[in-house]
Each structure stands twice: as C-alpha cells, then as structure tokens.
Symmetry: C2
C-alpha cells in the first residue's frame, strides 16, 4: 500500500505577534499540516518553534515557501514589498499567498507587481493585536471572535479565496470580504484614526509641564485611552504611508466632532450634551451585545467555511466531515435537535470536528494495525 501524498506545508514569513499567533491558532484549530516559519531575526524562529507555533524554522524565505500550499506574509507593512520580493521566485504553482498588513490597496498593488502569475494572492487583515509586540506575546486565542478582512485580487482563484477565508475561520475569526479601498476607508475610521488619537492624547499629557502630577493622578481610563500609543511605531508609519488620505479624512471628522462637543460645553447646552452622551451609552451597549453583521454581497465564490483550506491541508474526506460540523448556511433547514443545541462558535466547531475525525481515523488505523498484526506469522 502506498503512503498517502503529504499535503503541502503552510509557510509563515514573519514570526512576530501576528505570525506566531496564527501558527498557534491554526494548531489549536486542528490544522495538522506542517507549518514552516521564517523570520529575519533567528531568535524569533527559535521562540516560535519552542512555543509550538511552527514545526520547523526555515533558514531562508526560499526554504520556507518552497513546496508550501499556503504562504502567510505576516510582516509589518513597511516590510511587505521586501518580503514579496524575497519569496516571489520560490513560490509553488497554484499556491495561495496572503498577508496580514493593516492596509490593503497598496499591498494588492505590490502583489500584482511582484508576485508571479502562477500564484493567487488574497489579502488578509485580522482586526486583532496587542500593543506589546513580539513572538513571546503570541496567543492561540488572539483572533477568536475578531473580524478578519479578506480582500481577494480580481483574478484570484475560487480555491485560493476559499483557502484564505478558511484560514480565518480556523483561527476563530469572522471572515469579512471587502474591496481593498473599502477596507482602507473602514480601517482608517475604526483603527488608524483611533491609533493616532490615542498617541496624540498621550503626547499631549506627557509633554505637559505638570506631567509629574498628571501621571500620578491618571487612572485606568487614561491608561485604556492611551493603550494604542504603546504600539509599534513602524507599524503606525506603514499605516500612514499607505492610507494617508483616508486617515486625514477621519482625523478631520474627529477634530470636527470634538469641536462640536466643545461648542455645546461652551454654550451650556447641557441637555443636548446629555442627549449625546445617553445616545452614545445606549448605542455602545447595543453594539457590544449585538455588533452589526455585514451583509456579504453575493459573490461568485460561495464562502464555504474553510472547506478549501481543509481540502488543501488535510484531504477532502476529513474536510467534508468538518463541514458537517459547521453552522448551517443561511437558508439551510435545522432539525429541532439542532435548533435546541447551544450555539458554539464556528472555530469551536472546527476544532471539535477535527478532534472527532482524528480520533476516528486513529481508531480505524489502530484497528487495522491490530488486524495486520494478527495476520502476521509469529516470529
């Protein structure tokens, strides 16, 4: 009996917080495919391997990506071009390439310019992170329940798009498809402008002549509001270099909004201010309880919750079983039992399905081994 063909590896280029967390999250999500990792800092590779985020540390980008079915470029945006250039000559035919950078329009232009035509690029941006960068900070749960924006190139194959959205689902995130320009506008509003406001707030207070008193008095509210100011400045620079116009637009709107509040204060329009604060409180609570669900526009590529990723990595049969463990598609009928069952997240179901299937496979294999042993003549 011939060995089944080993599925392609997954390669992660860049083993910082995001890269190493993706490795850990894929492992804990049930991905059994081998993961190769590369980082320009060799210490990051060793740490990631020790944590179990990667199975092997590659010595060059070429070594990491050759033979890989899926390549994840998880470097700060300022290094994405360079990483694309380093891997481009070594990518396998038909492999799916993705990234994790904070802006998407520019990254998709670089992909078109640098990556070979025989690979499919599907941009990605997990809306997750911590202000403390570094491999040591990686966590398998970093992406759980977080949005994961997916921006395919126009000519990306359905298989590649499904593989990358499957990756997002496997690490516990919610895949959201969008156009790159649309992504950059949204990210400017809810991520890049708040980052700048957080940094501006900290700088303003820190540079005050009364800092020794202000810092001593500052409580948890100030700490939360300035958390983003502790982020990696190189990451921030990558953002404003690739999303300048949108960021300026949203900064202007924020300045306008603060001015509007200031005028209400000055004119003692306390009832109007109270209305604004009450509305914000009510709306934010309802946002936390029930965040808006983006209506996915009908697309030629149906989102099938990771089947393609599974197909590429663990074989079609197992992937089919996994899909059955997933929540139903819209329109799919649920049995009464299914309706009554407690809702668990997609990622939990994936992990649960993988565990069940692996257990079954192992039991089958053990039974077969036992049968083979029984057939063997005693030595």
């Amino acid at each position: 009996m011939s060995e089944p063909k080993a599925p392609g590896e997954i390669a992660i280029i860049g083993l910082g917080l995001i890269g190493a967390s993706l490795g850990l999250a894929m492992k804990s999500g049930g991905v059994t495919s081998k993961i190769a990792g590369y980082d320009t800092k060799s210490g990051a590779g060793r740490t990631a391997e020790k944590m179990g985020a990667v199975d092997r540390v590659a010595s060059t980008p070429a070594d990491a990506v050759s033979g890989a079915s899926i390549v994840i470029v998880a470097v700060p945006i300022v290094n994405v071009r360079e990483a694309f250039t380093a891997i481009a000559p070594h990518l396998s035919d038909g492999s799916a390439v993705t990234d994790t950078a904070s802006t998407k329009a520019e990254v998709l232009r670089w992909a078109r310019e640098i990556l070979p035509a025989h690979v499919d690029f599907v941009g990605g941006h997990p809306m997750a992170g911590k202000e403390t960068p570094g491999t040591e900070q990686a966590e398998a749960s970093l992406f759980r329940g977080k949005p994961y924006c997916i921006c395919p190139t126009i000519d990306a194959s359905p298989g590649a798009i499904k593989a990358i959205s499957g990756l997002a689902a496997v690490v516990g995130a919610d895949p959201l498809f969008m156009e790159p320009d649309e992504h950059d506008q949204y990210a400017a509003a809810v991520s890049h402008m708040p980052l700048m406001a957080s940094t501006a707030l900290f700088s303003l207070i820190r540079s005050s002549g009364s800092w020794d008193d202000l810092g001593a008095v500052a409580g948890p509210g100030f700490k939360d509001m300035t958390r983003l100011a502790s982020g990696d400045p190189a990451l921030a620079m990558g953002i404003w270099r690739t999303n300048r116009e949108a960021l300026i637009h949203w900064l202007d709107r924020m300045i306008g909004e603060l001015g509007r509040y200031r005028e209400m204060l000055k004119d003692a329009q306390d009832e109007k201010l109270l209305e604004a604060f009450t509305e914000a409180q009510v709306q934010r609570d309802s946002f936390l309880l029930e965040p808006p669900v983006r209506v996915q526009e009908s697309t030629e590529v149906p989102v099938d919750k990771g089947k393609a990723l599974m197909d590429m990595l663990i074989g079609a049969k197992l992937a089919d079983n996994l899909r059955r463990a997933m929540p139903p598609e819209p329109g799919e009928k649920l049995t009464k039992e299914e309706q009554a069952a407690p809702r668990i997240s997609m990622a939990d179901k994936v992990a649960e399905g993988v565990r069940r299937d692996l257990e079954k496979l192992e039991a089958e294999r053990a039974a077969k081994d036992a049968a083979t042993d029984a057939e063997k003549p005693p030595e």
Copy 2:
C-alpha cells in the same frame, strides 16, 4: 470588667459601584468596624448587604449617619448637594465626612455651605471605576494600586484628614493630597477630556452612514478607545457642570494636538511623525513601569498611613501594630533583613497586619476564656 467601648460606625451614603466597592474593600482591608449603608434604591441596599459590603441597611440617611465616626458620600456629583442636605442635621460631633465625586472645587463649596461646623469635611476622589455602573459590579479590588485624591477643607482637623487618607490606604489605593482647583485641572486632563473624546469617537463612527460595515470591522482597539462612552451619562453631566472651564481648556488642547498630527500627515513629514510615535511609545512604556510619584508638599498634617482611621475604628493599640507593618517613611532607616524582604504593597501589609493582630487578639481571648472557664465552679 467593663466591655470596651464600641468604635463608631462607618456610614456609606450611595451603594452604587463605588460605594459598595468601598465597603467590600474596607472589609477585605481588615476594617472590623460596622458599616451602615443607605441608598435611595432599596434594592441596592439589599444587594450590598448580601455581598457583604455593608453590615446593615439603613432606612433613611439619618439612620445611616447617626453615631457614625466616618461618613462616605458616594453618590454621583449631581446628587451630592442633595445628599449633604439630607445628612447635615444628623451628623455626629467631630465625625469625618468625605465624598467620592469626580470634581472637587464645587463639592468643597457645597460642604462649606451645607455641612455643620462641628464635622470635618475632607473631599476624596478615587481614580478608579468601571464603565458598568451598579452595586452588582462592585469589587473589593477596585481601588488597589489606583490614585486616591484627597482634598481637605482649609479648617479640617488633622484627625479627620488622617482618617480619610487612612481610608484610601486601607482600600489599597495611593492617597494623593492636593488643592481642589489643582485636582479639577488634573482630572480634566487625564479623566474628563478623555471621557469626552471617547464619547465623541463613538458618536462619530456610530452616526456614519457606513456604520453596519464600520461596526462589523471594528476590533479591540476601537472597543478600548470607546469604553468610557459606556459610562453613566449622569456622571458625565455632573463633571461638565462642575468643571466646564478646565474641560474646555483641555478639549482645545486635544483638538490642537490632533491638528498638529494632521498637518504632519498632510505635509508628509513622516520622519517627524515617526519621532512623535516613537517618543510616545517609549514614554508610555516607562510611565507604565514607573509612574511619576507626586512629591507631597510638606504639610502640617503628616501622612501616617492610616493610623488615624485605625485609631477611630479599631483602637490605638492595634493601629500601632498595623503601622509597624507598613513600609518605612522616607528617611527612615531599614535593617538589612527589611531591605532583603520582598516588597509587598501597602494594602497587602495592612491586610496582613490586621490578620496577624486579629489572630493574636483571638488567641489571647481564647486563652483568657479558657482560664475563666477553669476558674468556674463545676455545675
């Protein structure tokens, strides 16, 4: 042998998040004095009692404060005047009265106007809280390691000042003495303006026509930056009604700082922006590691780490023992053993000292009881 005179009760007026947390924190800090609580909502009283935050629920403000040595008014600032008016006729001679409201200058004016001359008012403001109000949310650890601003009235007695700073220390906070106007300026910078910026940010994004997309894409950064927008609007209104000028001043400065960043972006002064972000990152990290320590101006009332509170509540002997469990005063010499001992927080030491002393007292009492029993003739 006569019973030792029971020390005066502590009264808490207002059993929301702050009031109930103070009760829990005093209990877990080793305060053995009885705590009476009052809230206009009777449900809050029952909840606080069930949680162990108060020993008895008073049916009126008068019932709560009569006979109390220490009275804590823990109501939102919009209700402070009303609470002062309700308790004023019933306060005991020489009792210490404090509050927990977010601004201090106005509160001290109300205290002077409403409270009787035979009590001492010492304003307080614990820089702690959560965006989720309510008795159920109370936690004994809410104040641990947080700044606790203390603003005595000019004529407050040294004993009352010491009692309230001792209260701050007992709940695990760091007491910081300051002038009321000074407090309000500082709080406007690090607390009130950030609260307004957080609310403005949420309103701005929530009112966008693209909210369904923005909300779906928003990650943890946006959630942190808008946390304060979920706070109680009535609390916010109390703040701007009593600290309007300082708040406008700091809003103007924040608008100016955002404008400065905007100009750097627009003029592509990327190096200068990178410098600002790098400086903010470095400074914030050092702020978290080693927050500035406010140099307490020499005052006629030496801060003696809660001795007066202890004296009032648990008797001078126990308080003396407690004081010995405290970290040394600046200038005090440490023995080699003391220097080598691991540093534990003041609150931990208080709790530890109280435990040790109570154990000793109980052992002594048990020994005495045993001796008394032995002397008794058999029945």
